[in-house]
């Protein structure tokens, strides 16, 4: 990110924060100022601090203690017609974001992760949202970082859509289907600016999700979802530039929460498969993960996870430019993760864990460990089930 961009980002952040601070500090009545603090939005801040070390990767990024992400959230009723949610995220710049410069821990990038208006006047069973948000695809992609089961997204997802998921601007229509179980159909049309799309194209991305949930007992549920997404394919990734790029997914989650005791045992078992279009003619890329989370004490969680990504080898777009050079095939990376979390309250948690990544029939191997501190201040809305 260039200095001017950083400055703009900083000023934008200040513009959000200062008015609220000024109003909060001011003792003048709203009659005199024309501003009532009662109308202020609910404001919260979530921060993730991450210390990590790697046996096999010697970059600063993989061996440091740093701010992983900070999210500032504003939520409010706008007027009789709309509710609004806004999330601004700050995270360290990645090497690629610095336009070739070496990554530096003190430089941060600012993202608008969410800027959503939700219309309140829809008929029963329907919902309409307009704005920018994570695409409603599968279970992992819509999650904000502080809600991940592990400190990073599973490689079966991040290999295809990046560590920060997919945020786009558009409109989403949802419908609660009148079936004997919970069934929600969501369709959306959005911009196509993410890396996986051809951002020079004027075409939109379109997607949909069908989510079903059954109460398997008074304490447990089974959720099954199907997702699809199509958008303009990035020219360098397509055999035919400007074609459509498609991705399909399915997910299955079983949850059990003992209601007998406050903070009693609980299990969440999540499985998700991602089937993107191939970047080349040969092979079928695939992403998969399986996460098991178990609450074994009022404040303690244990997490186990496995993930597989079968995707194109990095650097293929450069190689492909050389005429006559053989196209690269697919590589398979497997990932195992384990963590333990101490959540002393709903607003703070400490998590330690390990991960092991290995490329099948390849050289890449990495064993790493981490500690993450997670805290929330302010009025933060509850997370979805």
């Amino acid at each position: 990110m260039k200095f001017s961009h950083r400055l703009s980002a900083g000023l934008l952040l200040l513009a959000f924060l200062l008015p609220g601070w000024a109003i909060a500090q001011g003792g003048t009545s709203s009659t005199a100022t024309g501003i009532s603090r009662l109308m202020n939005p609910a404001i919260s801040l979530n921060t993730l601090l991450l210390g990590q070390t790697s046996r096999d990767i010697d970059t600063r990024e993989a061996n440091q203690f740093n701010l992983q992400e900070m999210e500032i959230q504003f939520s409010s009723v706008v007027d009789p017609f709309w509710n609004a949610d806004l999330i601004v995220a700050v995270h360290p710049e990645h090497a690629e974001e610095e336009e070739g410069e070496e990554a530096h821990g003190s430089h941060y990038a600012l993202d608008i992760e969410k800027a959503i208006l939700e219309y309140k006047g829809m008929p029963r069973g329907f919902g309409l949202r307009v704005g920018k948000d994570y695409l409603n695809f599968g279970k992992q992609i819509p999650l904000h970082t502080h809600n991940f089961a592990f400190v990073t997204a599973p490689i079966g997802i991040s290999a295809f859509v990046g560590e920060h998921g997919l945020t786009e601007t558009g409109a989403e229509l949802a419908w609660n289907a009148p079936l004997p179980w919970w069934a929600e159909v969501t369709v959306y049309a959005t911009s196509a600016t993410a890396e996986i799309f051809d951002d020079s194209s004027r075409d939109l991305a379109y997607g949909g999700r069908l989510s079903n949930l059954w109460d398997t007992s008074s304490a447990s549920t089974l959720e099954f979802g199907l997702s699809a997404l199509t958008g303009p394919g990035a020219a360098h990734e397509m055999d035919e530039p400007m074609g459509r790029w498609n991705m399909y997914g399915a997910d299955l989650t079983w949850k059990w929460v003992s209601g007998a005791t406050t903070g009693g045992p609980a299990i969440t078992f999540t499985n998700e498969i991602l089937l993107p279009d191939p970047e080349h003619k040969e092979g079928d890329p695939l992403g998969f993960y399986s996460h098991l989370q178990y609450r074994f004490g009022r404040q303690w969680w244990l997490g186990l996870g496995g993930s597989v990504a079968r995707d194109a080898e990095p650097g293929h777009e450069h190689e492909d430019e050389h005429e006559g050079e053989e196209e690269h095939g697919l590589r398979t990376i497997r990932q195992l993760k384990a963590n333990i979390t101490l959540a002393a309250s709903e607003f703070s948690a400490v998590r330690v864990g390990v991960h092991y990544d290995r490329e099948q029939d390849g050289d890449f191997e990495d064993l790493g460990a981490y500690v993450q501190f997670n805290f929330t201040i302010g009025s933060h809305p509850a997370h979805a089930y």
């Binding site: 069973g125 919902g127 609660n176 949850k255 209601g259 005791t261 406050t262 509850a382 979805a384 089930y385």
Partner: protein
């Protein structure tokens, strides 16, 4: 020609089926008012006031701590078909109800709609309303005061009248019936209050430790003598030091009684009672908890009976 007519007929049937499918899912109840109550106590009160004119569904079963109900979408489905949502308020359900309301996509129960009923509006004597400094260092404190008012039958009477008024607004034909049932309930509570207090008089003479502030309103109603709380910061596990301090204080008093809810961590209550020379009693904090009675009056009957039994069994 015949083929064209047949095709037109098929299309008409298809459209009719689609229309039935769409309309069928959003058709409001013709006879009974569909009421969804967030907690079991309120469900019982709605049933008392609504009688046969309402169909009541409870989101949080009595055996679950209503602070921490998982916001299952299947609960949003129940809300999606409701004509009225009755909730406790004072942020008791703040961790899950806003999510469910959003997910339900039901204009009839959205904030500000005729079908949205916050029962805390009827509560006249809120307890533990913070007046000075307040932050999360004090635990899961409710800024609008302790929300467990349904355990005070006097407040339950006010809630019943409130429910009668609100039900009467959306079901005008039965407004008089709602009002009459609320009045009858008030009379029942008045009559039983004498016996409830007489029955638990023995406990009012005992020092009491409560696990969570769930019992604040019951304590106020029965005039119990609370000397401490195991969860000294609400929602936060008690520290060993605090538990030890409670035990030492408990040893200074005779006939100590430790009260906890069915969903509390009983091993801590048991340890405090055992090492202080006292006894424990586990009570249903919501109607139906621990296999207790579903009806509100019977629920309070059961609590008083269990307390009285503990009082009589004191060492």
């Amino acid at each position: 020609m015949k083929r064209t007519n047949s095709r037109k007929m098929s299309l008409k049937i298809l459209w009719a089926l689609v229309a039935c499918f769409l309309i069928g899912g959003s058709q409001p109840a013709a006879a009974k008012v569909k009421v969804v109550a967030t907690i079991a106590d309120l469900g019982s009160l709605v049933q008392v006031v609504g009688g046969d004119d309402v169909e009541v569904t409870v989101l949080c079963p009595g055996e679950m701590d209503p602070h921490f109900l998982p916001a299952k979408p299947s609960l949003a489905r129940k809300l999606g078909r409701a004509d009225m949502l009755v909730y406790n308020g004072m942020e008791l359900e703040v961790g899950w109800l806003p999510l469910l309301i959003r997910k339900a996509r039901n204009p009839a129960i959205r904030p500000g709609a005729a079908g949205e009923v916050d029962c805390s509006e009827a509560v006249t004597a809120r307890l533990e309303v913070p007046t000075g400094h307040l932050d999360r260092g004090e635990g899961d404190v409710h800024p609008e005061g302790n929300p467990h008012y349904t355990l005070d039958p006097r407040q339950a009477v006010l809630v019943a009248h409130h429910l009668a008024r609100r039900l009467g607004e959306i079901d005008v034909d039965n407004a008089a019936s709602y009002k009459q049932r609320a009045a009858t309930f008030a009379q029942d509570v008045e009559e039983r209050t004498v016996s409830w207090r007489a029955e638990t008089a023995v406990v009012a003479e005992m020092p009491v430790i409560i696990y969570h502030r769930t019992w604040a309103y019951l304590v106020d109603f029965l005039q119990l003598d609370v000397m401490g709380e195991i969860e000294h910061r609400p929602g936060i596990s008690p520290s060993p030091r605090h538990v030890q301090k409670l035990i030492e204080e408990g040893r200074q008093r005779e006939n100590l009684l430790v009260i906890s809810a069915t969903w509390d961590h009983h091993h801590v209550s048991a340890e405090v009672a055992e090492r202080s020379g006292g006894q424990t009693v586990v009570l249903p904090a919501q109607a139906g908890a621990g296999g207790g009675a579903q009806g509100y009056l019977e629920h309070i009957d059961g609590i008083c009976r269990d307390l009285a039994a503990a009082g009589k069994a004191r060492p």
